[in-house]
Structures are given as structure tokens and as C-alpha cells.
Symmetry: C2
Subunit: 126 residues, 2 copies
DNA sequence: CTACTATATGAATATATGATCATATATTAA
DNA sequence: TTAATATATGATCATATATTCATATAGTAG
């Protein structure tokens, strides 16, 4: 039997059929994947977390993360493209803010899930 | 002034200071970033979503995603390493299941946030 | 034991991603 | 107007990631 395709059969056709109905379709997976990708970079994640509490300008964020403003600007563009942040101009300064209102909730769940210190203050216990 | 460092000052020292206290520290960002990275690949995301409803073996998942079992196996290893899935052996077959109990909740929030069709059935309206 | 099947895994390769650098734009000050 | 500042952006490069292929392992059947 020189079948050059995968030799495995579908072990459980019913399970696959159920999954096809219930699970995420490729298009939705793509969209949600893009959102998670935005949160996958530690720098972007810190930016989003910082913006949970207050709006900040590019300089502030660069100082917070300890990276160049150019790098922050590139990250912000990605987040802007995805609709996760928006900005407001005051003179020369652009203030960035979060757009979604449930990011904090989501981050709290994620932190709980992966055991990271979730909210502020938790970080440094005596 | 030939200062070769960044020419911008911290525009708002108070904001940066507040962010330093409240926002995610680099270590936590790394850990959470790894989790989000696991969810950032559409294939892995579909795997995780499928496992929300039932345990499935590698063959089933490969059939669902339409990719090779090798590819699925590699993805599952990543998810296993992060503690997001675990398996149980029954004969030759390895059944994978989710480990965290709040992934469904998190995915629902994420779906709501990015406008993707969240739960099953939503996908195909007439 | 051998043969077969389901899965795992290492290496290689192709693509994606993030940082840097140089440059462009927008706003303000002079 | 020119100069200066804050930010944006395109190109480039180094690294990371995902898939493929070949091979290894573990269980089962004979």
C-alpha cells in the first residue's frame, strides 16, 4: 500500500465532527490569533498593562520599558492597527490609551492561569 | 550637545513612576507573554478550542486542522511544556485534554474583545 | 521475535517578527 | 521663515517560529 498520504485514519470521526461544529473556524482563529499575538510580546504586554491605569505618551512608555522610542512607536502602531489602543494629541505629545474595556479582566484571568503575579502590589512581598 | 542617547526626556515622571508600581514587571510579562504566544498561532488556538469540549487524540486533531500529525505533535509539545494540555494513554493512542479550567472564560472574553464569533453555532447565520 | 501503528522528536528550511537606523512628518518656538 | 522636539515609518538584519522530512520510540497484533 503505497498511499503517500498520512497513514493514520481518523480514530474518532464523531469527535472530529463534533469539534468541527463547536470549535473555532479558521477565520475566527486567525482574528483571535492576531489579538493574542499582540499580547505575546513582553514589551507590548507591558505597554497594555501600563495603559490599564492611565494614558501615557511614547516617551513615558519608552522610559518605562527601557527601550528606544522608535521601538515603542512600532509596537504602538501594531496595537493601533488592531484597535487595541488609540491616541490623542496634545501639542507635540501623543497620549495613548486602551480601547477595549475588558482587557484588565482578561489579563487577570491569564495571570491566574499561568501563575504570574496578577495585579499591582502582588509583585514584592516581604 | 552630542548626547548620543535618546534626546527625549521623560515627559511625565509621575506617570512613569506610577506605571512602575502598578504595571507588569519584566519577569511576569515574560511568563504571560509565553502563554499568549501559545494562543497566538491559529492552529494551536484551534487545538485549545477543540479541547474545551472533549479530549482528542493526535490523529483527530490533525484531521480537524487539516495538517500533518507531526505538525500537531510539535504544537502539542509546546502546549504540554507550558502546562496547557496533558495526555492520557490508551493503548497506542494518546488522548489530549486541557489543564487550565478557565480557558473557556478567557477565550470568550477575547472573542468578545476582538469581535470574532465567540462560541459554537454563532459562526454560520443564515 | 517481527510487523505495524500512533506518536515523538531532531534537523533543516522557510517565513515571521522585533530591534535598529535613517529619514520623514507634525507641532511649537523663535 | 528656521530650528527644535515628539513621533512615525520604511528598510534592513538578526533571531524566532512553524512546517516538513527522516527517524526514533512505544504499544499492539501476529
Amino acid at each position: 500500500m503505497n498511499n503517500d498520504r498520512c497513514t493514520c485514519r481518523i480514530v474518532h470521526e464523531d469527535k472530529v465532527a463534533l469539534a468541527r461544529r463547536l470549535a473555532l473556524d479558521p477565520a475566527a482563529a486567525q482574528v483571535m490569533g492576531n489579538f493574542f499575538k499582540a499580547c505575546a510580546d513582553p514589551g507590548r504586554l507591558r505597554i497594555l498593562h501600563a495603559l490599564l491605569h492611565q494614558e501615557m505618551c511614547v516617551c513615558d512608555l519608552a522610559a518605562l520599558l527601557g527601550v528606544s522610542e522608535s521601538a515603542v512607536s512600532h509596537q504602538l502602531r501594531l496595537l493601533r492597527t488592531l484597535g487595541l489602543v488609540a491616541n490623542r494629541r496634545d501639542g507635540v505629545v501623543l497620549y495613548y490609551r486602551l480601547v477595549p474595556d475588558n482587557l484588565g479582566q482578561l489579563f487577570a484571568l491569564a495571570a491566574e492561569l499561568c501563575g504570574a503575579a496578577a495585579e499591582a502590589g502582588e509583585a514584592a512581598l516581604p
